[in-house]
Symmetry: C2
Subunit: 186 residues, 2 copies
DNA sequence: GACATAAAATACCATATGGTAACAAAATGA
DNA sequence: TCATTTTGTTACCATATGGTATTTTATGTC
């Protein structure tokens, strides 16, 4: 089993379960490699989890950025985000990034730094998206773009986190649609 | 230090930090008692955390139920909930119940059962409150009471969880107000 | 004071964690 | 072919966890 396979396995393990509950030992066992092998490849648990997060970001998180940068208008982009969060099968077990962010204090310094970077990037992407909508005149009164960006991000995080806890996707969609309806008020 | 003092200390420790990161050893050390003493009083870690949650429920969570059962109308009750979640100093370090619910899988069976009981009770209280508003004619079209109840609960949980992560209360209030504005649409 | 009894503390157990030193095997260079 | 470097494994370390058997300390009773 080569390094990338191990990384994929670790990413999936962190992603499917709770990152804090997946030990280095367990990953070695699953991968069928020894601990020193893993440590020579990734340096530390922090290094491994950071690498797993990086891989996750470029492999699945990127899709969310694509949606946001699509530039297909407020309603359409919000709809795509709702679809992704509520029904994309990849989000069935939640999102590794949100899981790590929720348990930030348990992460090593490198992984935590990456989480914060991604968080900031997500917020910027949200803000850019909403700013474009505002520039197009499609915006409710009395709401700052920054607050809206954070709100949008948190609502999506909430929806995906609920997916991980087995909530009914239809119900999640209903709630997320309700939450995001504030952007498209008549 | 008597049993109730120990329980208060444990509750506060669980509440202030992350329940999963507070060990039995740490509680004994803080309380200045020995481990067997604690085990004689509470049986197990599960027993202790359940007792702490019970105490928390009757001591602070009850306040939320009081607000919900106030019967002071939709807007006013929502305002009180927003005040409580955004600005009550007791919620500055988050809510023990929400913290435990977020890490449900780490809890012992008794504590987990209590968490689920409280969760169900909260949802019922939300539903009863919203049903009353609906009966009073104050209700947006096309939204079921059940979905609204769950939505309301999740939004408050989100707001209080953000308090725990040090978010600016004014920003939290802004977002929670935005989220709950769906109930009072013109 | 002597003795039985309840309470508390010390010291321990099994287990799991992240991490590493010592060592064997295989590939790689000359 | 031999030396060297890389790769991997076994076996271990220090630490922390939840939980307990055993011993000490206090307490009440005769």
């Amino acid at each position: 089993m080569n390094a990338k396979q191990v990384l994929d396995l670790a990413m999936t393990a962190y992603w499917h379960g709770d990152p804090a509950d997946v030990s280095v030992n367990a990953i070695c066992q699953m991968a069928g490699i020894s601990k020193p092998s893993l440590y020579r490849e990734f340096g530390s648990e922090d290094g491994l989890s950071r690498a797993a997060l990086d891989r996750y970001a470029e492999q699945v998180l990127s899709e969310m950025f694509v949606i946001l940068h699509g530039g297909t208008g407020l309603r359409q982009t919000l709809g795509a985000l709702i679809d992704f969060a509520s029904d994309d099968p990849r989000m069935e077990t939640g999102c590794l990034f949100y899981k790590m962010r929720a348990g930030k204090h348990r992460l090593g310094p490198k992984t935590r730094a990456r989480v914060e970077e991604i968080d900031a990037a997500g917020q910027s992407a949200n803000a850019a998206f909403l700013q474009a909508a505002r520039d197009a005149g499609d915006w409710p009164e009395g709401l700052s773009v920054e607050a809206g960006a954070k709100y949008l991000g948190e609502q999506i995080a909430l929806a995906i986190t609920q997916r991980a806890s087995g909530e009914d996707p239809a119900r999640i969609r209903e709630m997320l649609t309700l939450a995001l309806s504030v952007f498209t008020r008549p």
